[in-house]
Symmetry: C2
């Protein structure tokens, strides 16, 4: 006997990937999904009723308007989603609900007032989402190939640019982070992939790992390019980071690159189904600190290595499992990034990120793009 | 005396626009924002600490790690965000929290267990967001201009395409919904705007208002193009729909177009600050039904006019106020769409959507694009 009668989502599947995974129906506005026993049910507005019947992968699509009418008949003047659900749940004898941790507190309070027992399940709410099917891996790989094509175009532009004094010039204009992001994002959109927060961070900017980067690209400084688009068609993401220098890298920057590369290899060498995400991360941290790279706060900012080593990826850009603090054992056929980095504003930044499938005895890389620093 | 000691968000500002509006810091992963009295505070991970200090518009950026350490010192082995917050709230004497309705139930339950009183505030959580500043209107207008440039390119392609038997041909290939969406989305990305669910729905497909459209475009049938991108730079959206026919529209489709256009004009003629969103919608419905267009369910799908007349737009594509069921009085300087439509699979679909600012004595259109059916 399960401890609940029904699973419940009231959310927009555009932003809630568990909901999208469960019903395979995409909508930008919140809607109601419930699974009662084995029956998957959508309760859809008039606007989405037809499309939900055509596109969703559920057993039953019910009309929200019809149940709203029943709620009004039962005496509720302006029924909310919870009142409308109450009619359905009463019909079906549902009393105990299982919801994700993100379930809205207002709906939760209202359902509790109506007498429902609500239990939250932490992520992964849908455990099978962590393990990717061949089809899902194919979708992720396709997004990854488009990412690599785009990054190649950006690198071609950096290589083609000519250093003159402090800046790089291409077609008579200063090469900027904005221009490179434009090349990356437009190239990806041409391939049906949406890249929203592409990072092209030159020099000290790259030392803030999420700084998206602005302004001129200079010769002889690090350029961190972190590109992570979602396919509009399949909704699966990809993720890759490369760090390059146009010209000559300083010895310090070269040492940082070597250390990050080595740390990534350490992670790869230990990666396999059953390996522990937290332990892998500790190994990566140790490799970098053993190589002499300190992690600490300086002037209110962190330097060194201060983010996780990797994250699961699929319908979300960040999803379980984690290779980082609190990370659990990795299952076979999960897809994760491996992305150590080093960040020191005075020297620049290095991050190298590949995407891999975890296998029974190791891993299979989904990333084909080569690694090099100077171009 | 306010009824709460602090406002609290634990969310990702990428998807929670109230949070973005409050702190102007953009992140894809959840973070903690609280306003205690007048002081706006971010509690940021090491990864985002530097960027938050540089980019956010808050009074104080605190280190999550530091408070996590304090929670551990207080005996919590693996502190959750709520435990970390508890340290801060105890420091500051906070006991009563105001949260949005979307606040996650798991965090809410935990905070209640820790003794906090939690009150939800329904949308609009931040009331001033409904009223747009001149700067916000300028951002929306800029997104709208890019939308119009993109739609012009799509219409140019439709016009350029040559009918041959059942299809339209361009550069020797069948013109499809996919090609038109590609033109629209790439054109918008070139301008730094992200369009994700662009609709180009030919013929009967358009009769499902959210069907994004696939396959060949045929001569003499309706083509509904609904384009709504978000600027990557400002994060403000735009929204426009035009319906065209390449060739000759049937008399029935022409009548639908005239009725929808007239219904839009009826809404415009009554639109001004203080007008009621629900009443405006009823007027639009009445105009369409008086013109003989029935709204009803046929074979499990709705036909006629079965969506709202308009929605607020800003940092979200759909936000208060609504011109539709349950709509309230419209304030001055709010930005809304006005988008009546008619949907009959056997005849096709018509939707016409403009974006306007509500003024004291009427409205000012942000849409410059002309309206015509046949091209």
């Amino acid at each position: 006997m399960p401890e609940h009668d029904a699973i419940l989502f009231i959310a927009a599947s555009e932003t809630d990937s568990n909901l999208f995974y469960a019903c395979r129906f995409l909508a930008g506005d919140p809607f109601v999904y419930t699974q009662i026993g084995d029956e998957k049910i959508l309760l859809m507005s008039d606007l989405e009723l037809g499309r939900a019947r055509d596109e969703s992968k559920v057993d039953t699509v019910l009309s929200y308007s019809r149940y709203e009418g029943l709620a009004k008949n039962a005496g509720v003047t302006t029924p909310q989603a919870t009142d409308v659900l109450h009619v359905l749940f009463q019909e079906q004898g549902v009393k105990r609900l299982l919801v994700p941790t993100s379930f809205g507190i207002a709906h939760g309070d209202r359902l509790r007032d109506l007498g429902y027992e609500i239990k939250c399940k932490p992520e992964p709410f849908i455990e099978e989402r962590v393990v990717k099917s061949d089809e899902e891996i194919a979708h992720i790989t396709e997004s990854q190939r488009q990412t690599e094509r785009a990054v190649q175009k950006a690198i071609d532009a950096i290589r083609e640019a000519k250093p003159r004094k402090d800046f790089l010039y291409i077609n008579g204009e200063v090469l900027t982070a904005e221009k490179l992001k434009h090349i990356l994002n437009v190239s990806l959109m041409e391939a049906g992939c949406v890249a929203r927060h592409t990072i092209v961070a030159p020099g000290a900017q790259g030392a803030d790992p999420h700084n998206q980067g602005t302004g001129p690209i200079r010769p002889n400084e690090s350029i961190v390019m972190d590109v992570f688009p979602q396919s509009s068609h399949t909704r699966y993401w990809a993720d890759m980071t490369r760090t390059v220098v146009r010209g000559k890298a300083s010895d310090r920057l070269k040492a940082m690159y070597e250390a990050v590369h080595a740390a990534q290899e350490v992670c790869f060498s230990r990666l396999k189904a059953g390996a522990n995400g937290a332990e892998l991360h500790t190994e990566v941290q140790k490799t970098l600190s053993d190589a002499g790279f300190l992690t600490e706060e300086r002037n209110g900012k962190m330097v060194g290595y201060f983010h996780g080593t990797g994250h699961g990826l699929g319908l979300d850009i960040h999803e379980p499992p984690r290779i980082g603090k609190g990370g659990k054992d990795l299952p076979e056929n999960t897809v994760v990034t491996v992305e150590p980095g080093l960040y020191y504003p005075e020297h620049g930044a290095v991050r190298i990120e590949d995407l891999v499938v975890v296998t029974a005895d190791g891993y299979r890389s989904l990333t084909e793009f080569p690694k090099y620093l100077e171009i």
